[in-house]
């Protein structure tokens, strides 16, 4: 027995020497590989450049995530000069050449955010530390977007936010390394206000059901601000957990609250469930104080309309983009997405595709992948032909400003995709606001 122990001891001593020598070398070797270059994940002389697409593949926003991923793949295809080029034919001004980015072929890695901040950061960290991505993108939850955006700043890798609608993303939590093409709750409020006044008058009692996280909070705040400016009352604001599934316990109190308008600050499967249940509870057939009960879904998309079916008919909301827009850019994108996948893209897909192209174009303009230079190219960048008319990336908060669509669920849809009527295209000037109202600080260029 004691012999045995001794034996083990000698082995371990030898092993220890070997391993400690290897260990002493290890940290230097690895840090050199990852961090000692002039910036994080510099592609250097490599013939490829890696982008990371971090989308929810499971959870309440999985449908949006799947469509985003399709758009990313399409964007990579177009950047590498395959396919019909999509928006690269209509984007102005544009420096892309269809040979990748700065002559390097674009490859990509994917990850699942699970719509959870922790999982999203773990996945983004894997992309940055293991896969060596130079830029990553994705979204569908503002909580996640904000969490990974601050990671982007720490790591010095640019994050091109996908679908995120919270005011905080480019407001109090804005970051130098984070960019958002999508519109936000404040803009939704500004765009929706006049339409609500016209359709529902100036004396209503609104009841909010709100997803309990940053996006829900800021949307509730913005919509409340808008409706109260119209003269509406806010009866109550109730917070619901994300991914609740069953909303009946939240809907029953509305029946006796005296409210005549329900505002659903929900998104994805949450919105599909809460809306369907509201309709099942007979809210829309009710008359309160002599007024027809109305439901408003401030942010919705075609994907959600598909899920909610006829329950969404006649309901007002806003979207960032819709495939039925008739401008050159939208037509080109719908055509190329449709050829690839056989159905029209959602607004989540659109914003992700555009973000990828915008990043690639900024690299071409800068002539380098060095993030501070790329960021300077994106800040204040004005472009057109991407489906939203003339658009500008505001330098002060990295928020894109463009027209916003007010839409309504179609009464008699002609196909399973033709679900929204565009009520109004609200021009950019009406949704613009002062960048300083939300506070926040972008932080340094160089990290």
């Amino acid at each position: 027995m004691s012999d045995n122990t001794k034996d083990q001891n000698t082995i371990s001593r030898r092993n220890m020497l070997k391993t400690s020598a290897a260990l002493a070398a290890a940290p230097m070797f690895f840090t050199k590989g990852a961090y000692a270059k002039d910036f994080t994940n510099n592609p250097g002389n490599s013939s490829t450049v890696t982008l990371g697409f971090n989308v929810p593949q499971t959870g309440a926003y999985a449908d949006e995530g799947a469509d985003e991923l399709r758009a990313f793949k399409l964007a990579v295809k177009h950047l590498n000069g395959k396919g019909d080029g999509g928006l690269m034919n209509t984007m102005k001004p544009m420096n892309l050449k269809g040979n990748g980015i700065l002559g390097k072929k674009v490859v990509y890695v994917t990850g699942d955010t699970q719509t959870k901040s922790d999982a999203a950061r773990a996945s983004a960290k894997r992309m940055i530390e293991k896969d060596g991505v130079i830029m990553f993108s994705g979204g569908s939850s503002s909580g996640v977007a904000i969490a990974v955006q601050s990671l982007a700043q720490e790591a010095g890798v640019i994050f091109m936010a996908g679908l995120t609608h919270s005011n905080d993303t480019t407001g109090k939590d804005k970051r130098r390394y984070g960019f958002r093409h999508f519109f936000n709750a404040k803009m939704t409020g500004s765009a929706l206000g006049p339409v609500l006044k016209e359709e529902m008058g100036i004396s209503r009692n609104a009841y909010h059901l709100t997803s309990d996280y940053t996006w829900g909070w800021t949307q509730e705040e913005s919509i409340k601000e808008t409706t109260e400016a119209l003269g509406w009352n806010t009866t109550a604001t109730v917070r619901t957990p994300v991914g609740a599934g069953d909303f009946s316990q939240f809907i029953t109190p509305i029946l006796n609250s005296g409210a005549d308008t329900l505002i659903l600050n929900h998104y994805g499967k949450d919105m599909i469930n809460s809306l369907t249940q509201s309709v099942q509870f007979g809210l829309r057939d009710k008359l309160v104080n002599g007024k027809q009960f109305e439901i408003i879904v401030p942010l919705y998309s075609r994907l959600m309309a598909q899920g909610a079916g006829e329950n969404l008919q006649g309901i007002l909301g806003t979207t960032n983009w819709d495939w039925q827009l008739r401008d050159e850019g939208s037509k080109a994108f719908v055509k190329s997405f449709g050829t690839e996948y056989g159905f029209p893209p959602s607004m989540a897909a659109h914003t992700c595709y555009v973000q990828t192209l915008l990043y690639a174009n900024a690299c071409e303009n800068a002539g380098t992948f060095y993030p501070p230079e790329v960021i300077r190219q994106l800040e204040g960048f004005k472009f057109d032909g991407m489906g939203n008319g003339e658009t500008e990336y505001r330098a002060e908060d990295h928020q894109c400003f463009k027209d916003v669509l007010v839409v309504r669920g179609k009464q008699n849809p002609s196909s399973q995709f033709d679900l929204l009527d565009i009520v109004k295209e609200v021009p950019r000037s009406e949704v613009e606001y002062d960048a300083s109202i939300f506070g926040g600080n972008l932080g340094p260029y160089k990290v």
Binding site: T5, Q8, S12, M16, R121, R126, E154, D212
Partner: protein, 376 residues
């Protein structure tokens, strides 16, 4: 005899330290040697080791250990916000606070045993999770998660220097706690935690815990009051979880309520059972397997599979991709589930039992005392 025991402990510790500290090297061929995953291995290792002190030794199945993980994380982030970016105050305060919460939860839950205990802890977990989402949002920031901000006071740091332009990062006296240095910090903590666990396993206290597991009634008849021992074990394992939570915040200063969800508690149960309940190394094996699947397997997409099966003729390549793809990417849970079923059915003692069986088969002359601890 005692000296021999001490020596074998020393050997165990040295071997263990070497294995842990050399993870960046031997995990390289598996594609898992990047800092974030290595940190996860070490952090969840601590979590599982601590959990094993309760579940492995006393047999009390807790479904609420994520509470302490969450408490540890929130405490650490608040320490970064209010006191200092140095990790020492964060780690110490997290462990203490997790211990206090564990004392409270344990005091109530340990009045019952068996399934009732599990349900009580599950109820506590759900309660804390919902608290974090509702009433406690000023402290936890709800679904968005608690994050650092530029305008945080950080009183201790401000005594020595003025605030920089960007967000500060966590540090240990100037050494940044992200990347490989963060991993080595976690690894050292893991080694310390393992040492504590080893000592407890071999101590009279550990023996009493094992006695509780085998027959609590008999132990009571011999005149022992079991509850103080159980409570101590519960608090210790809660403090381990608090340490793990603190380290999660150290390597990535953000705390979200989903860390306290019951699925997180379930995960550590899975890890422990997968590796081997009541064994020293088992839980760590479980951690490595589950975290590896979660991070590497979940990122395998069809394109990766295509290249993996490149050597096959193209029709076979496509068929293989079709067959395998439901098990990777977002389907990694499926792989985990199948694996878990297989292990529970064929190796109830976890992977460690598998190793023991293999050892028995190949070295039959060694009469192993069939140390099948988990019994039933």
């Amino acid at each position: 005899m005692i000296l021999e025991k001490k020596r074998s402990d020393l050997v165990t510790m040295i071997l263990f330290s070497m294995v842990v500290l050399s993870m960046p090297i031997w995990l390289n061929p598996l594609g898992a040697n990047y800092p974030d995953l290595l940190q996860k291995f070490a952090i969840f290792g601590i979590f599982a080791i601590g959990y094993n002190i309760l579940f492995g030794l006393t047999g009390y199945l807790s479904f609420g250990h994520a509470i302490f993980l969450g408490v540890g994380s929130y405490t650490a982030v608040w320490s970064f916000k209010l006191l200092s970016m140095n990790v020492i105050p964060a780690v110490i305060s997290s462990v203490i606070l997790a211990g206090i919460v564990a004392a409270f939860v344990g005091f109530v839950s340990l009045r019952r045993s068996g399934i009732y205990f599990s349900i009580l802890t599950l109820a506590f977990a759900q309660m804390f999770y919902n608290l974090a989402y509702s009433v406690l949002t000023p402290i936890t920031n709800g679904e968005t998660g608690l994050q650092l901000a530029l305008e945080d006071p950080r009183v201790i740091d401000r005594l020595f220097s003025t605030a920089g332009e960007g967000l500060p990062s966590t540090e240990l006296f100037g050494l940044s706690m992200s990347g490989y240095s963060g991993f080595y910090f976690c690894a050292v903590m893991l080694i310390v935690a393992f040492y504590v666990s080893l000592k407890i396993f071999n101590s009279p206290f550990g023996l009493k815990l094992k006695a509780i597991k085998s027959n609590q009634h008999r132990m009571k008849y011999t005149g022992y009051n079991t509850r103080p021992y159980l409570l101590t074990a519960f608090i210790i394992s809660g403090m381990f979880a608090g340490l793990a939570g603190a380290l999660m915040a150290v390597t990535d200063p953000l705390a979200g309520a989903e860390r306290m969800q019951w699925t997180a508690s379930g995960e550590v149960v899975l890890m422990t059972i997968l590796g081997g309940v009541g064994t020293l190394y088992g839980p760590l094996l479980g951690v490595v397997i589950i975290k590896y699947l979660e991070n590497i397997f979940s990122a395998v997409n069809e394109a990766v599979l295509q290249t993996f099966f490149d050597f096959l003729p193209s029709w076979l390549q496509d068929t293989m991709v079709v067959i395998v793809s439901p098990f990777v990417g977002e389907g990694w849970h499926l792989t985990l589930g199948l694996m878990f079923m297989g292990i529970v059915i064929f190796l109830p003692g976890g992977i460690t039992e598998g190793f023991q069986k293999m050892k028995k088969r190949f070295f039959t002359k060694e009469n192993s005392e069939s140390s099948n601890q988990e019994g039933k």
